[in-house]
């Protein structure tokens, strides 16, 4: 396998990397067999992940997009969607390569660092603003600045409270809870286990608890339509520990 001879930082982003791969293989961007480039891209990102190298999120985002397109190509009924997404990606690559060409032409004409303007030498004058505005203009501007939801306002301390005092749910407490429920009712539909949970931490802990219990063969998942979790006999679930 070809070793990684470059760093991602050299690239302006995933599109840049893909264009690099295209040019490296002397492919024509307008008729590019994009799947071969996709393959390589995924390989590079995969290699880097195996080596625990830091990968910017934009590169990972593109990787997941490529994987998705690849997945669709394996599903006969989704061919059309796959083609659309591929076309979209090709279009983006073409657009970006144009952007790069234009940037190069612009760059050649850059004289910004060689022209000097004269610093203003203005007579002492009163620069006080004198126009009169209606109050509504200010209000409209305020709403425009903060947006309707006002979500961009820096969050109040209240928002941080859940983070600071994070409600941590332990997996073991969820194991105890699950066993307790199964003790009362030996078969519970899988989804019902999560039905009343709103807290994310609790959700994750419950799921991990299920996995843990399956691994220990304390419960099993019945392959019926609803995926039912069932206590395993003859090693019956123990009564709750706590």
């Amino acid at each position: 396998m070809e070793s990684i001879s470059f760093k991602l930082e050299q690239f302006e982003g995933p599109l840049d990397l893909m264009l690099h791969l295209i040019s490296q293989h002397k492919l024509d961007i307008f008729s590019v067999e994009i799947t071969s480039v996709m393959q390589q891209y995924l390989q590079i990102i995969g290699d880097m992940q195996r080596q625990d190298m830091e990968i910017a999120s934009s590169f990972l985002e593109m990787a997941s997009r490529l994987v998705y397109i690849k997945t669709l190509s394996l599903l006969p009924k989704r061919q059309q969607e796959q083609e659309e997404l591929t076309r979209e990606l090709t279009g983006q690559l073409i657009e970006y390569s144009l952007c790069r060409q234009v940037a190069a032409v612009l760059g050649e004409n850059y004289v910004g660092d060689r022209l000097f303007t004269h610093p203003a030498q203005l007579p002492e004058t009163d620069t006080t603003y004198r126009r009169i505005h209606r109050l509504e203009e200010l209000m409209r501007a305020y709403l425009s600045a903060v947006g309707r939801g006002q979500r961009k306002l820096p969050p109040s301390q209240e928002v941080f409270r859940p983070i600071v005092r994070r409600h941590v749910v332990s997996v073991s407490s969820r194991i105890a809870y699950l066993l307790q429920r199964l003790y009362a009712k030996p078969q519970i539909p899988f989804l019902q286990l999560f039905a009343e949970i709103t807290d994310r931490s609790e959700l994750v802990a419950t799921f991990l608890a299920v996995l843990e219990l399956i691994k220990d063969q304390r419960i099993q998942v019945l392959d019926d339509e609803a995926l039912t979790v069932s206590a395993v006999y003859p090693s019956p679930a123990q009564p709750p520990l706590s």
Binding site: L15, S58, Y96, L98, L106, V111, D113, R114
Partner: protein, 182 residues
């Protein structure tokens, strides 16, 4: 008092303000027609060019500005100990390319074309006065639109945006996409 020459009065305003001054504003300040001012500006431009003065008259859209000629840059940099010689980064150049050809344009659009987050680059271009805000677009979320400035024109030796080099293979229809993008 002796009557001051119009060309000198125009020169004085351009010299003192440093920044580009529109033909209209010159006309208003001097109580002249735009045509008369424009004629004087053209004469000044010729005069600077034939006399090879250290400064030149730049036209930026409808505005005019005095600035030094590029060949004096080494002397100026030496005398004023200017080290800000850092050329624009590739990223900055790409962002400028997208904005200049599509303006007014949102950050989201620039990011879509480049496939990466551009907020830091765009902020630094705003700081360098190469781009500026151009109000908000009537799209969901009312995003801020950006456009290039007269500093941009000056920095790339352009008189107006119409002088931007043609994009290879770019078609009319692509100009339209600006309005449709999310």
């Amino acid at each position: 008092m002796e009557q001051l020459r119009i060309d000198r009065r125009i020169e004085a305003i351009l010299f003192a303000s440093g920044a580009p001054v529109s033909c209209e504003r010159l006309a208003q300040a001097l109580g002249l027609t735009k045509g008369a001012v424009y004629q004087q500006l053209q004469l000044l431009e010729q005069q600077y060019d034939t006399q090879k003065t250290a400064w030149q008259l730049l036209r930026l859209e409808d505005s005019f500005q005095l600035c030094t000629r590029a060949e004096y840059a080494p002397d100026i940099k030496a005398a004023l100990a200017i080290t800000r010689n850092t050329p624009l980064s590739q990223a900055a150049m790409e962002v400028l390319a997208v904005i200049s050809y599509n303006q007014p344009v949102t950050r989201a659009f620039v990011e879509q074309v480049r496939g990466v987050d551009c907020s830091a680059v765009m902020n630094s271009l705003v700081e360098k006065h190469l781009i500026e805000e151009a109000g908000r677009l009537e799209l969901p979320g009312r995003p801020i639109a950006y456009r290039t400035t007269d500093v941009f024109l000056r920095s790339f030796g352009l008189e107006s945006l119409e002088q931007l080099p043609a994009v290879p293979g770019r078609e009319e229809q692509e100009q339209q996409t600006i309005l449709e993008k999310p």
